[in-house]
Amino acid sequence: MKTLNQDYDLLKKIKQRDNDAIKKLYAQNFPKVLKYIVTNNGSPEDAKDIFQEGIYIFWNKIRLGEIKTLTAQLNTILFSICKKLWLQRLGKVKKWNSVSQDTRSFFWQKQNANGNESQIKLMKSVFKELSDMCQSLLKKWIAHEEPLEEIVLEFNFKNKRTATVRINQCLDRAKNLAKRKL
């Protein structure tokens, strides 16, 4: 049986989206989810969809700190998420909101779900024109919602104030590039 320390190590690596850790998680858990879904009126393709959505939710939960103390094994938690998603798709349970209501993600889903599609497309192309450092910084801060304390360490900034200034500079750079393309 795996030790708790091994699970904590895996948890940390999944949070960082370490490719080897995600591969291990995938290889270990997909057969079980495939088995569950195929025996419950699903196809292998359904199993793949549900499992990948489940891993994304699982990663989000780890990233947002919802899974940090290991009361159950990681594999059990992931299976439970996939099972809920499948039951939801079969209409056997009411729609499940997988994002906690006190997170930035929930606020975003609620307030900013309907963005202007052409502006989003424009900003996707603008984002690719930013420096590698700006892309990495904004991705960590916006998409992964890493706290400023972690960003300071990761990017070797002097303090949180410096990190905020650099983030704002990258945001300004992106907006200025976009204005020129409008």
């Binding site: 049986m1 989206r17 490719n19 995600i22 591969k23 995938y26 290889a27 997909f30 057969p31 079980k32 495939l34 088995k35 569950y36 195929v38 025996t39 419950n40 196809s43 292998p44 393709e45 199993a47 793949k48 990948q52 891993i55 994304y56 990663w59 159950a72 094994q73 594999n75 059990t76 299976f79 439970s80 099972k83 930035r104 606020f107 975003w108 307030q111 900013n112 963005g115 202007n116 502006q119 989003i120 497309k121 424009l122 900003m123 996707k124 603008v126 984002f127 904004l138 991705k139 916006i142 998409a143 992964h144 905020t164 704002n168 945001l171 300004d172 992106a174 907006k175 976009a178 204005k179």
Partner: protein, 231 residues
């Protein structure tokens, strides 16, 4: 007061819902009055959404790649192609199956079928694990014993065999056909209080394990999670 120096930070706080009521009103007033500022807000919101969408799409691509590496494609391969020799005959197009593709398709289908048969066979056959406890347990009429574990015969409707199994693959799960198998890694299982109740109206079983209650699905071949009932 919103100015050139602090506007990006204020827009971020506004988009993330971190401003108080007074500052939120000030931002919304400025959006309504200042088209330049309104554009700044829209572009910043679009950038945040773009980065989130892009990241989710990239993650999906990474997962798809891992799936292909470890489990191959689950899509039906395209086995039909128009042969070169048939292109000249416009009236009667004939489809041919290239031999290599046909063999590959047959092999994929064979492997997939074997995998599905293997994965869907009865859990009775493929679970091992160490049996920590095996005992006969009375099944009581639902609600007759409450939470007090009154061990009387009056309300006993049936009995079943309970097994506590320690298994590396199944943790906090159960399988319930004839025997109720609980996969919990507990070497002190013998000291715990187990009670099973049956509600004949809804055809539902309930397990009380010490003070925690669980609803059980009976008669399925797969293993379910043990999920405590909420009070």
């Amino acid at each position: 007061m919103i100015n050139e120096e602090n506007k990006t930070q204020i827009i971020t706080s506004y988009l993330e819902g971190n401003l108080d009521e007074k500052d939120t009103k000030e931002v919304e007033k400025k959006i309504a009055q200042d088209p330049e500022f309104k554009l700044e807000v829209e572009l910043q919101r679009a950038l945040f959404l773009a980065i989130r969408e892009e990241d989710a799409e990239n993650f999906k691509k990474e997962l798809e790649q891992i799936h292909q590496e470890h489990f191959g494609s689950t899509e039906q391969p395209n086995t039909f192609e128009v042969g070169e020799s048939d292109k000249s005959d416009n009236t009667t197009p004939v489809r041919s199956i290239p031999i290599i593709k046909a063999i590959a398709a047959a092999l994929i289908l064979l492997i997939l079928s074997v995998a599905i048969i293997y994965l869907t066979r009865s859990t009775n056959e493929d679970t091992s694990g160490l049996v920590l406890l095996s005992k006969k347990l009375p099944v009581y009429e639902y609600g007759s014993n409450g939470f007090a574990y009154i061990q009387g015969d009056d309300n006993q409707t049936d009995s079943l065999t309970l097994q506590i199994i320690s298994d590396q693959e199944y943790i906090n799960q159960y399988h319930f056909k004839d025997t109720l198998k609980l996969y919990i890694d507990d070497i002190n299982a013998e000291q715990r209080n187990f009670m099973v109740e049956y509600d004949n109206i809804s055809n539902t079983y309930y397990l009380s394990l010490d003070t925690v209650r669980y609803q059980l699905e009976r008669g399925f071949s797969q293993i379910f999670d043990l999920e405590p009932l909420e009070d």
